[in-house]
Amino acid sequence: MIAEGMISSFVILILFFILLLVLIQQSKKGRKFEMKHLPGLDAIEEAVGRATEMGRPIVANPGLGSLRTGPVTIAGLSVVTYVSRIAARNGTKLIVPVADPEILPVVDEIVRTSYNLEGMSEDFDPDYQIRWLGNNQWSWTAGLQGIAEREQVAANIMIGSFAAEAMILAETFARVGAFQVGGLTNTYQIPFFVAACDYTLIGDEMLAAGAYLSNDPEQIATIATEDVFKIVFVGVIVVGVLLGLVGSDLMIKLLEM
């Protein structure tokens, strides 16, 4: 019934889903899952406060992606939601640069709703705050560089989908003295963010941002599920290596099923 070569993936998916439901149920019954602190996300509130004192704007950048790049953009949008709430509460000028036109209405709704929920709807200025800079990678980058220099941005929260422009953006915002929190899953851009940003979220730390910032027990239960499976995979790797050392390819055959 299941396609050849997909059985092991299917089993992993079903087990993941079952464990997810079990841990969500446990969280509903009151079990608390502790997440380690992510200094990058903890620093966002401090960054916004710093920008407010300096009277300079902050940039909440969800990256180049669209909803087609899926979880990465969703994580970026979760952070934009969080940052826009704090900015609205503190009266800090906020700029959200958008590359893909698909997410332009989503970002508009996010920021507008954040300001409404904080009772600061009169401070919401879509022309200033939501800036579509073109979905060409380089026009977007050039536009952002211009924003950094002209506005003298105090904090740059860039968590989302980034490609080759990561280095340019990180270095440009560093040049204007902005406090930077970066997060991306693009492994080959990680070194640039690590070098240029004050805090960096690497890989799945970034994908956990939504759950971490919401502090929702059910969402945190999904992170717990991930962690359980990481331990399982480490076990699989260890067993596979040991089997390989004695000349058995059983683990490989099981995973190839």
Binding site: I2, L104, P105, P126, M167, E171, G203, D204, L207, T222
Partner: protein, 213 residues
Amino acid sequence: MSVMIKKQIPLVIAFIVGVILVFEWFIPTNLGDAVGTGLRESGIIINSFAIMAGVIGLYLNEIRKVSLRRDDWQYSVWMLLVVSLFILIGVPFGYESTNYQWMYNSILMPLGATMYGSISFYIAAASYRVLKFRSVQSIVLLIPAMILILGNTPMITSVWSGFTDTGGWIMTNITQPVYTGIMIGVALGTLATGLRTLLGMETGWLGRREEGE
């Protein structure tokens, strides 16, 4: 339409489509294949319409900025002119036409290539600022970086290939396993985020927050 329905309908659609596509991937059947193909082709069509909707939204926003004389409205005029020019040439004559090709080759391509080329300048400035024997962590960053830079310098590798071999060892035995580990974490994170989205727990893509938060 109430907020409940505005939120619930997209979540229900996302759940149904997601479940169908997941099962269609794992359990091939003729019906599943046909439905999955139909959904994927619909996705392609919807994506094209989304681009069109984005361009329409862009026009509306930028025209409003110009009419209200907002800050930097002159740039909005320029953007509208350039976008209109590309559309007026591209749509009737096609992107293979000489005029469109000329515009692309003369304007977009050199600008894009220049922006990409400017990365090297930023890397040079960042390397100078960051790569120092400041702490144990920065030394761990600095030494392999130097070995890899030397190993990728043709002037040096044509004389001695030791840096290339060492750099290759670092890439194969340190970088690659580390990246594999990160990719496994990202894959699990993607799976968790995807399932959160299907279950309606992750609603950031809807652009809405819970009432009363």
